[in-house]
Symmetry: D2
Amino acid sequence: MAKKFYSEIRVIYADTDAMGIAYHGNYVRWFEIGRTEYLRQIGYPYAQLEKGEMIWLPVTELACKYRQPAMFDDVLSIACWVGALGGASIVMMYEVRRKATDELLVSGSTSHAITDSKLKPIRLKKIQPDLYAAVVGTLEDV
Amino acid sequence: MAKKFYSEIRVIYADTDAMGIAYHGNYVRWFEIGRTEYLRQIGYPYAQLEKGEMIWLPVTELACKYRQPAMFDDVLSIACWVGALGGASIVMMYEVRRKATDELLVSGSTSHAITDSKLKPIRLKKIQPDLYAAVVGTLEDV
Amino acid sequence: MAKKFYSEIRVIYADTDAMGIAYHGNYVRWFEIGRTEYLRQIGYPYAQLEKGEMIWLPVTELACKYRQPAMFDDVLSIACWVGALGGASIVMMYEVRRKATDELLVSGSTSHAITDSKLKPIRLKKIQPDLYAAVVGTLEDV
Amino acid sequence: MAKKFYSEIRVIYADTDAMGIAYHGNYVRWFEIGRTEYLRQIGYPYAQLEKGEMIWLPVTELACKYRQPAMFDDVLSIACWVGALGGASIVMMYEVRRKATDELLVSGSTSHAITDSKLKPIRLKKIQPDLYAAVVGTLEDV
């Protein structure tokens, strides 16, 4: 089982819609937060990857399954983990829960190409063996 | 083949991100525009459904596949059509193209429950036979 | 001097634009976060006001002054305090700083009507004397 | 009197909030649309300015006055005109109306520095005399 990494956000008024719930498009932002915190927690903040190392992770696929709505002022717990690691691609998995009740609200995944800043695919293992090893380490968590 | 319905939007600066392209989360908004225009074009604007007839279409699943990025000021053409119609559910399909070149940028789908304003599933065919027939009409386009 | 209340957010990729900085419209969201945390910290969470007590605070005016840009992954510190309290209105003040350097990035204000859920103005002092006193308490901080 | 330039948008579900109205932060996006269309209509699309001529217009101040709410599916008419033109700055004015009724919903303004792509102020009249003349032309409309 891959190791899960956690972050939290609070639903703000701007996130709600006229149904009185969080607009479904916001989970894309919240997945991003989960993914960014994953990278930070393994020691490779994305801000540093983009600037220093010139590794980009453009999104190639996105999937969400909506089970329960999030409401204004809910604190959400975002779990993020690696679903699969390829040569020049990575799949991240997400679960968003209402923290107060632990209800699963939304699950999803994003697929990413691993590229340089010109969006050309790169072999992570070769270009950044340390980062590659750190990611593999979270895949093989026991 | 289902009949496709078209709408257009222009990418604004707010839609872009630091990669210089449209942030991937915006397609959720653009799918919504495609879907809303679909309903308007078949004669059942969503604003009317929600107010008059009390039919809601909460999103239950979302999928996107990203092929090419959209850039600031691009005019995007959004094609939307019905992928499947169930008793109390509907699947909408989308293709977003750069209008100037007709390149396919993103394709995707959303699944929706068909509910009343308390999010209780309703049988569209029974509650709104005219709307049901209109949707079926767009599925059977030749 | 009014007492300042603090909250923090981190700039995400979705918040950036093609200039490589946080899009100027995001400060409206961040002011909202500052204001919501102000109310929570004085003991009257907005979620409770809206549901239990039926007090709404629709925005009537907004002003922002932009001094320095916020960048991806910056942690921002949002200071929020009461600028003025009227019979059925309130002015909130904001300063957003880059936490790492304490640089002032944006200052601003929002004016709000104090209304019931039908947007009819109400006298806060009469309807909710405890909340009124709590707000006054933050104005008269020494 | 300055000449007014018009554009239109339709309020989508993503724009609404739990009050059932368009979230007040969206007007920042809509002002941007008005401003971008102004530049396009005078013959200097912002996409071209940023790429070809390296003129940026970062926002330095923003003000909005909210009078009436916009609702889901409303078509909004955005009027935009030049409020003032300085050596290296410009003020744009906005009025957003509900198209169906012509009610004024929100008025506002944005102030902009005129800079190169390193955010260094430039003298528009010297660097781009044609664009300067075009803007002046819209100020002196009779």
